[in-house]
């Protein structure tokens, strides 16, 4: 019996991420939680969604087992296409990807992400792993969904280094630097869901997860976070969503 508050922060993030996928869309599926979000969306409201995995896979069914990495053998079994990475990236660049998912270590008020260097790149305080495919997904997807932990040191006024482009320094930046329309449409954190103001390209608080408030989210954000007029509590995962998530990740490897 699943009671109202009986879910983890990861589970509400997976549910929120799955809701960002619309039926029939082509989804560039990132690592970790998005792997489960894609499986959840397929079984709930988006049975016709197609998943691209940058290692070179296309699937229209969830993998038969929990994935720890996108290259795990269960993800190849039953795939629609096993191919080269450049074909996935080509589909992305030609504009065939509706929504891409990435994670982030550091995010700023205009949705730029840093997963490369904290401090000066010439002598970094912290060397993070780098882009992987994230910079490509952020630059070339029609919509971008970011999934990350919400801490004040991670949500900063300005990232030290733009690995994955959001809206740069605001309105018009993407066009100026040569990027096509796109950019982040949602940031799903452990505390809330951020959207972006269409006229300023700045992040706004769209909903706060149960247990959080506007104030608690703002207090843990490194800039003066604007709040949408209709900001509300994030809809928690339903019993059905939780059942699917737990069937897919029975040990709670990603979601506990």
């Amino acid at each position: 019996m699943v009671t109202e508050m009986d879910y983890t922060p990861q589970e509400i993030m997976v549910a929120a991420a799955a809701r960002e996928i619309r039926d029939g869309e082509v989804v560039f599926t990132g690592m970790r939680l998005p792997l489960i979000a894609f499986a959840l969306a397929k079984q709930m409201h988006a049975p016709n969604a197609v998943g691209l995995f940058e290692c070179g896979l296309v699937r229209d069914t969830p993998a038969p087992e929990l994935l720890y990495t996108m290259g795990d053998p269960p993800n190849i079994a039953g795939a629609l296409w096993a191919t080269r990475m450049i074909n996935m990236m080509g589909l992305l660049q030609q504009g065939s990807v509706d929504v891409g998912f990435i994670g982030g270590a550091e995010l700023d008020r205009f949705g730029n992400l840093n997963t490369s260097y904290l401090g000066d790149p010439a002598s970094p305080k912290t060397k993070l792993p780098g882009s992987g495919g994230a910079a490509d997904i952020a630059g070339l997807s029609k919509r971008l969904v970011v999934i990350m932990a919400h801490e004040k040191r991670r949500l900063v006024e300005r990232v030290d280094y733009i690995t994955s482009p959001g809206f740069g320094d605001g309105q018009g930046w993407r066009r100026r630097v040569g990027l096509r329309p796109g950019g982040p449409s949602a940031v799903i954190t452990t505390r809330c869901l951020l959207g972006f103001d269409a006229s300023t390209s700045e992040a706004v608080l769209r909903s706060y997860h149960p247990g959080q408030t506007v104030e608690s989210v703002r207090a843990e954000t490194g800039w003066d976070l604007r709040v949408a007029q209709d900001a509300h509590e994030t809809e928690p995962p339903t019993a059905e969503e939780l059942a699917i998530i737990r069937r897919y990740d029975p040990q709670g490897f990603w979601t506990r």
């Binding site: 690592m31 995995f53 940058e54 290692c55 070179g56 896979l57 720890y68 990495t69 996108m70 290259g71 795990d72 053998p73 993800n75 190849i76 079994a77 096993a82 191919t83 080269r84 990475m85 450049i86 990236m89 992305l92 660049q93 490369s116 260097y117 790149p121 002598s123 970094p124 305080k125 912290t126 060397k127 993070l128 792993p129 780098g130 882009s131 992987g132 495919g133 994230a134 910079a135 490509d136 630059g139 070339l140 280094y161 733009i162 690995t163 994955s164 482009p165 740069g168 930046w173 993407r174 630097v177 040569g178 990027l179 096509r180």
Partner: protein, 304 residues
């Protein structure tokens, strides 16, 4: 002519000090760990490592002091996140300083594709506006001569050698690989030479029965190493699964310089070859990674 040799001979002959080497081209699977460990045992120095994500293999080679330069999109531990050795090298110059040339997965694919095509560069819209343009001095911003829009020019990479793990291969280096390929083809075609590490050595007839599954032309292959289990802890489709726990163990063990030295001592320097590695890994752990079921492809008819 047979190109079959031991891993020791392949590394000694074809991965000299200062080489540029592509490894981990398929991304999370088919990572040539056995080759990497032989490189560490032979104390090869001043390597340039080229790869998309590489998982923990690059971290191990960096921690062992084999690497001068990394040209990659991501270096870390796919299961656990950060790579401690990569961090120590970049942040503290331990065991020594590392030159990093930043790529994304797409730009690295394009660089190797350009190398394989013999093209001067390949244009892309990716990475515009990012700081990768500052930390990768090889990129050039330009405008399209056709539409006038902003583009990024990615110059070719021509690595000295690609080390590719595959399912099966004949003694000439005609290799079958399947599953997601990542940038394996681009790596093979752009490199001067290819070392193939194979789970199985098979007769030529097996390979030519299905030429669509061949990775690259064998005239580029300089060595064939028969090393079953040589990709562990990464998976090989149809042969064994990924040893997830191994990545977490590695992450915990290599938190400190001392811990890393101990890890290398135990798993690499302290074993003579792959047989010794598997002795240490243990039969039970290895059995736990074996296939639960077979899923054979339907045969295709090449008849005429």
């Amino acid at each position: 002519m047979s190109k079959v040799m031991t891993m020791g001979e392949a590394v000694m002959r074809f991965v000299p000090d200062g080489s540029s080497v592509v490894m981990g081209a398929a991304l999370e699977s088919l990572i040539p760990f056995a080759a990497g460990h032989e490189i560490i045992r032979r104390q090869v120095r001043d390597l340039t490592l080229i790869g998309p994500i590489s998982d923990i293999l690059f971290d191990q080679l960096i921690g062992a002091g084999c690497v001068r330069k990394v040209i990659a999109a991501w270096v870390g531990n796919v299961s656990a996140g950060l790579g401690h050795n990569y961090r120590r090298a970049c942040e503290q110059g331990l065991p020594h300083r590392l030159e990093v040339v930043d790529h994304s997965n797409f730009s690295l694919s394009l660089a190797l594709l350009a190398g394989g095509l013999g093209a001067p560069y390949i244009p892309t819209y990716s990475l515009l506006g990012t700081d990768l343009l500052k930390t990768n001095p090889t990129f050039r911003q330009s405008t399209s001569p056709f539409g006038g829009e902003k583009i990024l020019l990615v110059p070719p990479l021509r690595p000295d050698v690609a080390i590719l793990h595959v399912q099966r291969c004949d003694e000439d280096g005609n290799a079958h690989a399947w599953g997601n390929l990542g940038i394996s083809e681009e790596a093979a075609l752009s490199s001067q030479r290819i070392i193939i590490v194979a789970e199985e050595l098979v007769p030529r007839a097996v390979i030519v029965s299905d030429p669509n599954r061949v990775l690259a032309p064998s005239f580029k292959v300089c060595a064939v190493v028969h090393e079953p289990g040589g990709a562990h802890p990464s998976p090989v489709q149809g042969y064994y699964n990924r040893d997830h726990e191994y990545y977490h163990d590695y992450h915990r063990a290599t938190r400190t310089v001392e811990g890393n030295a101990e890890w290398i001592g135990q798993w690499v320097a302290g074993v003579r070859d792959r047989a010794g590695y598997f002795q240490k890994l243990g039969e039970e752990r290895w059995q736990g990674l074996q296939l639960k079921e077979h899923r054979y492809a339907a045969p295709g008819d090449y008849g005429y």
